[in-house]
Structures are given as C-alpha cells and as structure tokens.
C-alpha cells in the first residue's frame, strides 16, 4: 500500500488531461481543410493571444508554432511542433519549449457528411506541488477555451467558412 505522501506525489506528478468533442455536419476532408491551414486557427481557437507560425501556413510534420493562451495573469503556452499529420484524421503536436504540453485534433466519421471532432490537450506546469495547484486552478479556463474552440470550429465549418481561402495578413 502506498503511503499518503507517495500518493500525493503521484497526484501532483500527473499532467492535466482535457478533452472536448463535437459532432459537425460536414465531411472529414472539409474540416481538415480548415485544420491544415495554420493561419486559420486563431479564427476558431478561443483564448489565443499569440499564434506565430514559424514555417507555415500549411501544416505538416515539423511545423513550429509559438502559441500562448491567457490563463489568469499570464499568457502561458509553448513553442509547439507538429508531430503527426494524417490528412482528414489526426493532427498532433508536442511542446519544444515553454509549458510541457501535447495535443491532438482527431476527426472520425460518424455518418454521411457527419464527423466527430475531438480536441485533446495534456499539459503540466513546472514547480511540483505548487505547479499542480496552478494546473487545477487554470484548468477551468483552459477547458472553457477548448469547449469554445470546438464549438467555434463547428459554427465556421457548417457556415461554409472552410471552403473559402483564409484571409492573409498584408
């Protein structure tokens, strides 16, 4: 049997894992068209304060993005790198610097022109027990942002935004 101290250590050693899903009335490739364009993400990702694509705009394995999200008094986030790019199926990333995080967009067909879209994010603040406390407090904001993001993606795709090219800066 683990001691209480060990149990607590394990507890704050765990990362925060969040997942939000939505069903979109569109084919997978239509949704993928939006997700595969890095410059579109600020249009549906809620809470983003920074999204600098370093080698875009098309996503591919190795694309790096400096992203931040407002959580409490700080804009927290990481330099992330795309690690999986399976068209119309999976887009995953890992952090390179900043907050340790990994995330995934997952598209699965549930019927003709109907797709289940899942957004997963796992992250862990540094700093041991205090970092764990911060994770628990901040998770409320992050979860809300993820929920709004999938809902915003659904609204935009179903409104036909995915079929138009993204506006380019300049």
């Amino acid at each position: 049997m683990c001691s209480r101290l060990n149990a607590a250590s394990r507890c704050w050693g765990n990362d925060v894992r969040l997942e939000e899903s939505v069903e979109i009335r569109a084919a997978r490739d239509v949704i993928w068209e939006v997700l595969a364009d890095a410059e579109r993400h600020p249009m549906f990702m809620a809470g983003l304060t920074r999204w600098d694509v370093q080698n875009g705009p098309e996503m591919r394995c190795g694309t790096r993005i400096n992203m931040r999200m407002k959580v409490g008094s700080a804009q927290v986030g990481s330099l992330i790198e795309v690690t999986e790019f399976e068209p119309s199926a999976d887009l995953a990333w890992n952090s390179v610097t900043g907050i340790d995080q990994r995330g995934r967009w997952r598209l699965r067909e549930v019927g003709p022109d109907r797709t289940k879209v899942t957004l997963r994010l796992a992250y862990q603040a540094p700093g041991g027990l205090i970092g764990w406390v911060v994770d628990q407090i901040g998770a409320r904001d992050v979860r809300r942002n993820l929920r709004r993001s999938v809902e915003s993606l659904k609204d935009q795709v179903e409104a036909g935004v995915g079929r138009a090219p993204a506006p380019r800066a300049g």
Binding site: R50, R68, G72, S73, A74, Q75, V76, G77, L79, T97, G98, A125, P126, G127, G128, I130, G131, V133, V134, I137, G138
Partner: protein, 270 residues
C-alpha cells in the same frame, strides 16, 4: 541567440530552470492575490536588447515587478535573457539577494545595465528608484522620476529602444504616508544612497518607519500597460536634448497612467 563573446560574469547567476520552477508561485500570487493584468507585451521587440523603463510602485516588495517578470517569462520564454536592476541594499539582503540573482536581478548601476544590454538582454529599470517607489499612496497616479536622466543616456549610448512599462495598483499594496526624506537626511542615511525613509501603514505591523521588514501586501489589483518602443535618435536626432526626451518619455507614460487610473473605481479592489 548565439554570441561570440563569453557571457559577462555579472550575468552568470541568472538561472532559467529556477525561474521556470518558480513561475507557478508567481502566477498564484499575481492571479489570485493581485488579479494582475499585463497588457501590450507584443509591443516589446521579439528579440535583441531593449530597455524597459517602468514607474516603480509598491515599496521594496514591488509586486508589480514580480507580476511583470512572470508575464515576460511566460510570453517570451525563460530562455530569453531578462535582467532587472535593484538597489544594492535589496541585493545585499540575506536570502532575498540570492533569490533575485537567480531571477536575473543585478545591482543598479549604469555600468551593469550597459553590460546586460550589450549582452543582448531585455533590461528593466526604474529611473525613479526609491524616490518613486516610496511616493505617498495618494500620488499613485503620478510618474515621478525626479528628473533623473541616466536611463536616457544609457539608451542613447547603447542605441537600444526604450519600451515604457506603466503600472498602477502597487502603491495600494501598502499605504505610504510620507517619503520621510527629511528623516533620512537627519539620520545620515543619504550617505548610503537611501534618500528616503518612508512612513507607511502596512499589514500586520501597522505604522512602520522604513521599508525593511517583511509584510503582507494589501491585495490590490495590479494593471500594467506596455507601450510601443521609443527610438530616441529617430525621434530627437543623433544628439537628443535630454530635457526634451525626458519630458516626452515621462509625458507618454503619464498619459497612459492617467488612463489606467481612470479605469479604477475603488482603492485596492481596482
């Protein structure tokens, strides 16, 4: 950023891993206790040396400095070299000095600031120093650098842009009744670069003379606005008039501080 020259010894103590591990504690303090808001970080150039010039508030605990340092490290990453200048008495304090050194704080002097800028760092200075940080709390909305122009000479000499950092709320984390400059002079403290000996109302001690003992800051809301960079040579020519440049920089900061002050509806609560 790779550099050809070895890092000056002065800057050796900064420890990015240590900063990273202490960010959550700073986040808790800034978010829950001070409801801190840091706006305009995107105005800071993405890389290269920059002179961040702030108005100084909150006594020696300077909570808005911690909130800004948290925001800077979160936004740009702990990898970006960031140094803050502090009074030598603060740096000499047991425990506190070592803690601050790991965060990149160095003793305030023109030479040290120049060394850090030449190493490509972002450097945060408070030209008003102890005079500004211990201004009476009812002068919270006033930028007062006592016409010190060293920061301007530093920016001109090194050719780095000035980025103003304007904060409000720090002066409500304690209530400074008077700077006590006459008291400091009478006791001869000015010989130790201590021009003030503030009399303040603080938790839990009540009325204190000086700002040397630990205290609990009032949970005042902190708001900081970072302004766009000012290139003095571009604005005022190759040989800028210091009075003109001083009035421009402090005037710009005062205008912003007036706006921030107008947003506050209640003392401490913000």
């Amino acid at each position: 950023m790779a550099r050809d020259e070895a890092l000056p010894e002065l800057l050796d103590d900064r420890d990015p891993d240590y900063i990273r591990d202490t960010l959550p504690a700073a986040w808790l303090l800034a978010t829950l206790w001070h409801r801190a808001e840091i706006r305009g970080l995107e105005n800071i150039p993405e890389s290269g040396p920059v002179l961040l010039v702030g108005n100084h508030s909150g006594g020696n605990t300077a909570p808005d400095t911690f909130a800004f340092a948290l925001a800077f490290a979160s936004y740009f990453g702990v990898e970006r070299r960031f140094h803050q200048l502090a009074h030598k008495l603060v740096m000499a304090s047991p425990g506190i000095g070592a803690f601050l050194k790991k965060h990149g704080t160095i003793e305030a002097s023109h030479e040290n600031a120049e060394t850090a800028l030449n190493a490509g760092a972002a450097v945060l200075v408070y030209p008003g120093g102890d005079w500004d940080v211990h201004r009476p709390s009812w002068q919270s909305g006033r930028v007062d650098f006592a016409r010190r122009t060293g920061f301007l000479k530093l920016a001109i000499r090194t050719g780095v842009p000035i980025v103003p950092v304007v904060s409000i709320g720090g002066q409500e984390t304690l209530f400074v009744l008077t700077r006590g400059e006459a008291l400091s002079k009478a006791l001869g403290l000015h010989r130790f670069r201590l021009k003030v000996l503030p009399v303040s109302l603080v938790i839990p001690w009540g009325v204190t003379v000086g700002d040397f003992i630990p205290r609990l800051p009032f949970p005042a809301k902190l708001t900081t606005q970072v302004l766009p960079p000012i290139d003095l040579k571009e604005k005022f020519g190759d040989d800028p008039d210091l009075d003109e440049a001083y009035d421009y920089v402090t005037g710009t900061m005062q205008t912003t501080l007036d706006v921030l002050a107008s947003e506050r509806r209640f003392p401490v609560l913000g």
